[in-house]
């Protein structure tokens, strides 16, 4: 009994409840007539689609900057990357690579400024980050209108200028990673390329956190005074973490876009940080500690639930409950994690 109790406290109630809920959905799916094959395909696709953005949160959590509610900043870098690559006429795999190459310098630039700002508001990072994200998205909403994009696929049809709300990647690199080496088993398709790319990114962060810099970063998050006494520049490490997080957020949205098939601009990135944050928290991370395992488990549980609820619940209740459940779970998770944080510090 004690071992079960210890396991429950160790694994955490939210994770257990959500895992059981997801399991229930998978079990009841065939009963209500939802096919499992396509469902699993969806779960894997959405897992890969979102995992990198969840991963992008890790460096900042580890460096003590809290959950990166300013993730939209990185996403904007990614949007610049993809739209510019399309504007320049790149298609297919080269297009995707060029998009990444353009995203990285923008991500570096945004991350640097963002890091500088966060260093000035120590202790209030998460609140400030949220507003940084919001205001950057709004600023770019103006920019998308006035930047001189000319490609017909990109701009609004009737005016000939200003980006469309959503831009199809059909002729560019839609499903590029998803279809790469995809394995088909009956009606289930495993998106090998997508999984490989996600795996690569996870490995990158995993290795990065084990370098001297990554170690210093973790120590800064754990105890800044200790890190400073060990000759580590706390401000520099925090900036490094925001830069890595922002760049990775940009790459994350590129992966999301190719799987989703569309580039969404204007206010689309506004709430992108919330699902990522709650996925990480469901994965068992706290505001101060996050690991690769948290990322993988959390994204899988969260996205699994999002994929399965509409199909299963809707066919039972005949109403669209999925959006409501998504909002309750994602925001509820964030509240839960934030209250837990204050409990610990007390």
């Amino acid at each position: 009994m004690n071992r079960i109790k210890a396991f429950i406290t160790d694994f955490g109630w939210p994770r257990i409840i959500i895992a059981l809920f997801l399991l229930g959905l998978f079990i009841s799916a065939p009963i209500v007539g939802v096919k499992l094959g396509p469902s699993f395909t969806d779960v894997f696709n959405r897992f890969g689609q979102n995992a990198i953005m969840v991963l992008a949160l890790v460096p900042m959590v580890q460096a003590g900057c809290g959950l990166n509610f300013g993730l939209p900043l990185g996403i904007l870098a990614g949007l610049l990357g993809s739209t510019l690559a399309m504007q320049l006429g790149f298609v297919g795999a080269p297009g995707f690579i060029v998009a990444i190459l353009i995203t990285i310098p923008f991500g570096l630039l945004f991350g640097l400024g963002y890091g500088k700002l966060l260093n000035k508001v120590k202790g209030e990072e998460m609140t400030i980050a949220m507003y940084v994200g919001f205001s950057a998205v709004m600023l770019f909403s103006i920019l998308w209108l006035v930047l001189p994009y000319t490609k017909a696929d990109l701009v609004m049809g009737y005016a000939g200028e200003g980006l469309r709300r959503s831009i199809s990647l059909e002729k560019y690199w839609a499903k590029l990673l998803n279809d790469f080496l995809a394995v088909r088993i009956g009606d289930f398709v495993f998106p090998t390329g997508l999984m490989l790319f996600v795996g690569l990114c996870v490995l990158f962060i995993f290795v990065f956190m084990r370098t001297r810099t990554g170690t210093a970063l973790t120590a800064v998050g754990s105890n800044p005074d200790y890190a400073r006494a060990s000759g580590v520049s706390v401000e520099r490490m925090r900036t490094v973490s925001t830069v890595v997080s922002t760049v990775l957020g940009g790459v994350g949205i590129l992966v999301y876009q190719q799987s989703f098939g569309f580039v969404q601009v204007y206010d689309a990135p506004l709430y992108m940080a919330f699902p990522a944050v709650s996925a990480l928290l469901i994965g068992g991370a706290s505001v101060t500690k996050a690991s690769m395992v948290n990322v993988v488990i959390g994204t899988f549980l969260f996205q699994g639930m999002l994929t399965m609820t509409p199909s299963v619940i809707n066919s039972v209740l005949k109403t669209d409950m999925s959006e409501v459940i998504r909002i309750i779970v994602s925001n509820g998770m964030i509240i839960y994690a934030l209250t837990r944080k204050t409990k610990v510090t007390k």
Partner: protein
Amino acid sequence: MPNETPLLSLEGISKDFYGNVVLEDVTFSVGRGQIVGLVGENGAGKTTLMRILFGMPVIAETGGFKGTVSLDGKPVAFKSPFDALDAGIGMVHQEFSLIPGFTTTENITLNRETMKSNLACDIFGSRMSVLDRAAMRKRASVAIERLGVKLDPDMLVSEMPVGHKQFTEIAREIDRANVKLLVLDEPTAVLTESEAEVLLASLRTLASQGISIIFISHRLHEIVKVADRIVVLRDGKAVKDVPTAGTTVHDIAKWMVGRDVQASVTELSTCKENTFLSVEHLWVDMPGETVRDVSFEVREGEIFGIGGLAGQGKLGIANGIMGLFPGGGKVTVDGKDIPLNDPHGVLNSHMASVSEDRRGVGLLLDETLEWNIAFTAMQAKGEYLTPVLGGLFKLRDEKAMKKLAEQYVKQLEIKCTGTKQRAMELSGGNQQKICLAKAFALNPRLLFVSEPTRGIDVGAKAIVLETLRTYNREFGMTIVMISSELEELRSICHRIAIVDEGKIAGILAPTADIAEFGLLMSGEPDDKNGDAA
């Protein structure tokens, strides 16, 4: 006053915090209109004694105390400071608890304001009554007058000189109708000498009006001047309870620091003649431990002790040199200039430090022992990293870190379940050993150790001190040890500097007379005040 019941009497007061005895059978009494000077080193138990007297909740929470407190001959047991206030005991704290934006009058009568009722009161009750400012002002003036000082009742506290704030605080206590006993905790610490004189005079005035006073101070000459009786606390025991007449500052200093047991002087290593560390005109802006102008030299292979009372700046010296707080001056080690305000540069100059703030600065509480021990060496010197992919980048060498941690766990007898245990879960003594291991892992030639034995048990204390001695003897490590415990310094150091008010008051040999240390600590010039009383 032999036949009179003393106002306050404490009998057989004992208190321990989880087995750590801080007060042992303390007995003394305070007569009516008497001023009792209470002296003792940091940690001698003064604060705990006052907390017991005031019925602070922390005492009950930690298991209560033994003995009886009687007021006017009747045993009392205060459940909270409010009970103590109601019984007529007033406390003036070391830090001011005044509201800066309020006037003297408002502060003195705070929460006890004289109220005036009006029409609204008849309808809505007494909550609608308004302040009777004229009456309040009068009350404040009376209280100030009883003190025998000049204070403007209408001045804002924020605009007052420090001395006036202190008087306002005292006036507030004596404004209570029934105040019988005042406790003043270091009231002169923030005052200039002339302000302190005025304060002492007003204490005498109060005493002559029948108010008893317990006066706590580190400035021994003030105690001698103002107190009728002197109680000396040392290691939780009231070692002396004597009338002031015929007592000298010198005597008090000796009682305060002197131990019954003779310091065990072990054989010291022989240090070389050359100067290894030289500090010239160092200033450090460390809050609460300001260093003003410190110069000293340490020879190679020496264990140099720095002592002094809390808040005088001894901790600031190590923190300033290690670059953790902004500072200036000139520091050279082995002939080379040490960059100040640059923690990284210092660690690269064969120096290391063990912080006095073990949990705050010394440890990564959430991380493993391996991390705690190896991290500084990894960051400062690039050790415990292993190249991968043909030197493309370097990763943590977990194996080497584990080996290092295991080596120190064995060497320093660190009690843990394994090197993967988190630092938070260790006891204080073992955490301190981790801090030492972290510093040793840098292979420093010069080590600063601040308060190495604070809050750890006797066994761990012995191991920590022995380890320092061993490293000094076997590896010729030069050690600067900063400690509040004089006995400890005397048992391990070649020379001991005493810091007072941000400056070095003097440097003594460990064998010097214990009274000399006491005098330096209290900021008393060594030569003349010896017989003044």
